[in-house]
Structures are given as structure tokens and as C-alpha cells.
């Protein structure tokens, strides 16, 4: 997924870009309306994250001009304002969704997926490993035996493993990625989700291996002929 982050707070923009890069996406940063306009005209982006208060203009005006130019890039507005009427205006002028700052990265990713799903999923590539294929956009896991619709946490867990095959993840790391810090989570909760995925991977040449006392990793197994 190719993302354009239009945000004038450079450090925040870079931080978001780092998150997306880590998740295997490609991101560009524009700190002004002018820079964003140039990038949009030069390159195709799958989604744009747009801040409203920019130094050389207003996000509303920029978004309206994009839509007038028939540039249909999906836009999620990142707003710090509480005014819901502002948000309603944003949807009216062509924003696909909005998220109120500060937000959880996982929520931003979920909103990006939802918006891209509505736009037909362009740019979001499926992940293939062994004989399984994961579509993060539709939350589908395709195995030789069956196709599964995954729950949100199952999807995010499998996505973590499939983006980094053979890499070991501790329970703590997985818990941090899957749950909100404020949620009271038992250490063994992660095992429930691991077990659910393992059940779906029966008969596949990919499996989640447990390294006792250390963690889990996704590895390829060789099926008997």
C-alpha cells in the first residue's frame, strides 16, 4: 500500500511513516498543501492521510480542489478538532473517513483497510507464504483445504507472522501488538488466538511453532508426499 501522509508536524509525520514502513507499506510525507498537491499529481497513492491545519492552507480547501480535479484518491482526515460538524463537512466534501488525534496506530490501520475495501482494494497486496494466502483487506485466509474469514485479532496476529516468517516473537511482543495497553490481558490470552490460527492452518505447509519459554514463529513444514 502506497500512502501519502500530509502533516505539518514533521516528527509526527515521520513517526506515522515509520509505522507504515514497518508494516511493509510505502509512505511519502508532505508538510504543506503545495507539496502534497505536487506529489498527488506526480504519483499514484492508494490512500492519503490528511491533516486539516496546514501552514499554507486548509485541508478542507485542498480536499475540495482534489475532488474538483477528479482525483479520487481515498482520503482519511486526521483532525485534532472536536467539532463534529467539521467532520460532517469533511465527509460532505469528499473525505472517506476521519480519525481524531491522538489515535491508536492499529485503529488507523483498521480505518485504512476499511476505506480501501470500500474503494475496491487497489494497492493492497495479499501475502503468500507456502501454500497459504492472506488478504489483509478482506481478512480472508486461503488454504488448500478451505477459505477462512478471520476475526480482527486473528488477522492482525497472522499478518505479524506472515510479514516476518521464521522470526521469533515473544508473548509480550505479540500482546503489545494485539491489545491495547489499557486492556487487562492475561499472558495466556495470546495462546487462545495462536490456537485458533493453528486450527485453521491444519493441512497447510505453514505452522506456528512454539519455542517453549521463548515465544512463537511461523515456519514452513514439509508435508509428507
Amino acid at each position: 500500500m502506497k500512502i501519502l501522509i500530509v502533516e505539518d508536524t514533521k516528527k509526527l509525520a515521520q513517526s506515522l511513516a515509520d509505522h507504515f514502513d514497518l508494516a511493509g507499506h510505502s509512505s511519502s510525507i508532505a508538510g504543506t498543501v503545495e507539496a502534497a498537491n505536487e506529489l498527488v499529481l506526480l504519483t499514484h497513492y492508494d490512500i492519503m492521510l490528511l491533516d486539516i491545519m496546514l501552514p499554507d492552507g486548509n485541508g478542507h480547501t485542498f480536499l475540495r480542489s482534489l475532488r474538483l480535479q477528479k482525483i479520487a484518491v481515498p482520503v482519511i482526515v486526521m483532525t485534532a478538532r472536536s467539532e463534529i460538524s467539521d467532520r460532517i463537512d469533511l465527509l460532505d466534501i469528499g473525505a472517506d473517513d476521519y480519525i481524531i488525534k491522538p489515535f491508536d496506530i492499529a485503529e488507523l490501520e483498521a480505518r485504512c483497510r476499511a476505506v480501501l475495501r470500500r474503494h475496491g482494494g487497489g494497492g493492497y497486496t495479499n501475502i503468500m507464504l507456502g501454500n497459504i494466502e492472506l488478504s489483509p483487506l478482506t481478512a480472508e485466509l486461503r488454504t488448500p483445504a478451505e477459505n477462512f474469514k478471520l476475526r480482527n485479532r486473528e488477522l492482525r496476529l497472522l499478518e505479524i507472522f506472515m510479514n516476518a516468517p521464521n522470526i521469533l516473537f515473544t508473548k509480550e511482543q505479540l500482546t503489545d501488538r494485539l491489545f491495547n495497553i489499557s486492556e487487562s490481558v492475561n499472558e495466556n490470552t495470546i495462546e487462545v488466538y495462536i490456537a485458533r490460527i493453528r486450527k485453521k492452518l491444519i493441512g497447510c505447509n505453514m505452522r506456528i511453532e512454539t519455542l517453549r519459554g521463548i515465544g512463537y514463529r511461523l515456519t514452513e513444514t514439509f508435508l509428507p508426499k
Binding site: 514497518l22 491522538p102 483498521a110
Partner: protein, 458 residues
């Protein structure tokens, strides 16, 4: 504290009292004048009678001759059913007439006609008495003539006149009251007109009050316009402050949260991870507090600038639910909305405030729900009200003291482990008051909590 007296009564009461006094004075004056006129007429007739008798009195050598003028008695008796009595005394001794007619003691010097009232045979009489000294053969003789008449005619006239005076007095009072009411109405019309002009204005209409105003009301209008001007400035400042505060608080917090999450993801040291956990937890707490404080400020600001519109409730609820679904997805929670037993439901409300209330209700439901659950949002129409019911499968409020839970910074005793500011329920309750509704939080049948927002429909 005593209730202040209205301007209408301040004006009306003195006018009514004046009307009552004037009407009473009119009644008694008319009655008195009539009484005096009738009495004067009677006295004139009685005077004529006694003087005529006196004129017809002649003394001979040893006798006195009195010629009673019957025409006078006829005239006196002809009036109504009145009766006439007379008495003639000579040298203090009864001579002729009605002896039991009481005689007024007059001194010898009195040579004028004297009028008095007396009771004769149980009937009230008015009588005229005249006396005169005659010199007969060198000897003075005193003759005293009294003519009396009953007062039936006078009383009849007085009765009629009293009735008429009463009718005139009441009519005058009625007329005066009408004039007082009209005058009060006319006096208050400019004030009511001014009040109407101000109250008919829309929520955002903060233009100065203009139009023809009586000079006496000009100080009030000028003060009102001054107040509107100050209010406009304050609201503008508040709006700008909220927007800027939101930007300056939320953006740095976004960076702290994003960077902390990034650092947590990259960190391999359990010690560092623990510290980062603490940082993120504190940031989340700050985010929640800042967000809800800004929401609270927004509610207070909007309560002064409320913008009511006819809203399709299902559309608003669905919009809020859709917007929160990605956040709910993170816990594998599904938000289901449904309208029970009815079609479209419209409410007259400020959309911003309504959405803030619904967002807080759903946010609480998501926050306290366990993963892989359903949250139901039901809209139930009940006569003139609609109940928006949010049902979750979380920990509920069983065994929790709910008294004061709607107050600011108060939280249930069973949610210490979950990040919260204690403002969510206070915000919902305050919005309910502004929108003319009510809010109840109770335990769901089974598990979880049931939050009910009741609003009037239109």
C-alpha cells in the same frame, strides 16, 4: 426570596384602586346630592306651609283665628303617599292639630323657621316650625306653628337615585378597569415586542437589537446590545480557544503515542518495554482526559449556542456507530443498530451535542466490553419519547454505588483498572439536560450494562 411583582400588576393595581375609590366617591356624592336636593325641596314646601298658616293667623280681641290653607296641605299630601301633620300652639299651650306631634323647644327669641327630624307614631318625619309674637291689647301672645311630613317620597327618590348611582358607579368602575387594562397593555406592548424580537431569534443570531423603541426603553436596548456584543466576543474566543487547545494538546500527544508505540515495537529489552508500557498508559490517560475535557468544554460552549435541527435519529446513530466500528474491531466487537417497532424517528436536537452523547455511550460500551462480543444499539419509540438503548456484555455496574456517578470526575468503583477520566457520564447527563431528555445507567439483564438515553421526538 420574594417573587418580584410584575410590571403589569405594578401598573394595574394603582389604577384599579383609583377606579374603586373614584367609583365609590361618585356613588356617595350622587347619593348625598340627591338626598340634599330632595330634602331642600321638602323643606321649601314645609316652609311655604308654615309661613302660609302664619300669614293666615289673625288675633281678635279674645280669640285667635287661623285659616289653614288646604291647598298647601293638598299639595304636600299629593306627593307620593306622604302624610302631612300639623300642630298649632298658643302661648305654649296646644291649640289645634296633632297634639302628640312632638314640638321642638324654641326660645322666645327664635323668629325663624326651624327644621328638624322626628319620629311620629313610628314613622320618620321632617318638620318645619315657625313661631311669632303678636301684641294683642298690649299683651304679647306667642303662636307656634309646626307642619310635618313623612319622607316616603324622599326615601323612594333616594332609593332610585342610589340604585342609579350604583349602576353608574359600577359602570364607571368597569370602564375605568377596561381603560386601565388597555393602558397597561399599551404600556407593555413595546416591552413585549422587544422580548418577542429577541426570543424569536435563532441560536446563532447575535445581531444587535434594532427597530423603533420608546425613549424610556432605550437604556435597556443599549444594555442588551452591549451584552450581545460581549457574548459574541466571548463565544468567538471560546470557539477559537477550544479549536486551538484541541490542536495544541492533541497533536503533541499523537506524536508521543506514536513514538512510544514505535519504540515498544522495536524494543527487545523487557525493562524498556515495562517503561514504555507505563509511558503509553500515561499518554492514553492524558489523551482520554484531554479529549473529554475538550468535549466538556464543547458541550458548555454549544449549550450557549445551541443549533437545533430536525434530525433523523437512525441516520445519526448509524453514523456514530459506523465511525466507532473500526475502534470496536480492534477488540473484535460488532456494533449492531436496530429500530424497534417503528419506522423513522425524528428528534429536534443539536447534532453536535447528540453525537457527542452517543459517542460517549458507545465508547464506554466498547471500553468495558470483553473481546468478541456484540454491542446492541436499539431505538425504541415510546409515545412522545425515544429511548436509545446501548447494551453491552461487559462488567456492568452490579454492586457499584451509582449515586453521584453522573458527576464530573466520578467513576464506578469497579473500573479502576480501565483508563478513564470520569467525565463521560457527566458529559452525557449535561447534554441530556440541554436536549430536554434523561439518561439512565443500569445493569443489563444477565451481564453487562444498559445505558438509556431518552429524548423527546418531534
Amino acid at each position: 426570596m420574594r417573587k418580584p411583582i410584575s410590571l403589569r400588576w405594578r401598573l394595574l393595581v394603582p389604577l384599579i384602586i383609583t377606579a374603586i375609590i373614584t367609583s365609590a366617591l361618585l356613588y356617595f356624592t350622587m347619593r348625598q346630592v340627591t338626598k340634599q336636593a330632595v330634602q331642600a325641596t321638602q323643606e321649601a314646601l314645609l316652609e311655604k306651609a308654615v309661613t302660609s298658616i302664619l300669614e293666615q293667623t289673625r288675633f281678635t280681641e279674645n280669640n285667635v283665628e287661623i285659616d289653614l290653607p288646604y291647598n298647601i296641605f293638598t299639595m304636600l299630601g299629593a306627593i307620593s303617599e306622604d302624610k302631612v301633620y300639623y300642630r298649632v300652639d298658643l302661648d305654649g299651650l296646644f291649640l289645634t292639630g296633632y297634639e302628640d306631634l312632638r314640638l321642638k323647644n324654641l326660645t322666645v327669641d327664635n323668629e325663624y323657621i326651624f327644621f328638624s327630624s322626628t319620629i311620629f307614631r313610628g314613622v320618620k318625619l321632617r318638620q318645619a316650625t315657625v313661631q311669632q309674637l303678636f301684641l294683642v291689647n298690649g299683651k304679647s301672645r306667642l303662636i307656634q306653628i309646626t307642619v310635618a311630613q313623612t319622607q316616603l317620597f324622599q326615601e323612594a327618590i333616594l332609593r332610585d337615585m342610589s340604585r342609579n348611582a350604583g349602576v353608574i358607579g359600577i359602570s364607571f368602575f368597569g370602564f375605568a378597569l377596561l381603560v386601565a387594562l388597555l393602558a397597561t397593555r399599551s404600556f407593555l406592548r413595546p416591552i413585549n415586542s422587544l422580548a418577542g424580537t429577541v426570543s424569536r431569534r435563532g441560536a446563532h443570531d447575535l445581531r444587535p437589537v434594532k427597530g423603533p423603541t420608546p425613549p424610556e426603553l432605550m437604556p435597556l436596548v443599549l444594555s442588551l446590545n452591549g451584552f450581545i456584543s460581549r457574548l459574541t466576543g466571548t463565544l468567538r474566543q471560546t470557539e477559537t480557544f477550544i479549536a486551538e487547545a484541541a490542536h495544541h494538546i492533541r497533536t503533541p500527544l499523537s506524536l508521543v503515542k506514536s513514538e512510544s508505540q514505535l519504540a515498544l515495537r522495536k524494543s527487545k529489552s523487557s525493562e524498556n518495554r515495562k517503561h514504555l508500557h507505563n509511558i503509553i498508559e500515561s499518554v492514553d490517560m492524558s489523551i482520554r482526559s484531554a479529549g473529554q475535557l475538550l468535549d466538556h468544554a464543547l458541550v458548555l460552549y454549544r449549550s450557549e449556542k445551541i443549533d437545533e435541527k430536525r434530525l433523523d435519529l437512525a441516520v445519526v446513530v448509524q453514523h456514530v456507530a459506523d465511525n466507532l466500528q473500526p475502534a470496536a474491531d480492534l477488540k473484535d466487537i460488532i456494533i449492531k443498530t436496530e429500530i424497534i417497532n417503528t419506522g423513522d424517528i425524528f428528534v429536534m436536537a443539536d447534532r453536535v451535542l447528540l453525537e457527542v452523547a452517543l459517542r460517549n455511550m458507545l465508547d464506554n460500551a466498547i471500553k468495558y466490553s470483553n473481546p468478541d462480543q456484540l454491542i446492541f444499539v436499539k431505538m425504541v419509540l415510546d409515545q412522545n419519547f425515544v429511548r436509545i438503548i446501548v447494551l453491552d456484555n461487559g462488567r456492568g455496574i452490579k454492586g457499584v454505588k451509582t449515586k453521584g456517578i453522573h458527576k464530573r470526575f466520578k467513576r464506578g468503583s469497579n473500573v479502576d483498572d480501565v483508563i478513564g477520566s470520569g467525565l463521560g457520564l457527566a458529559i452525557i447527563s449535561e447534554i441530556c439536560i440541554i436536549l430536554g431528555g434523561s439518561f439512565i445507567l443500569k445493569n443489563n439483564k444477565g451481564v453487562g450494562a444498559c445505558a438509556i438515553l431518552q429524548l423527546p421526538v418531534c
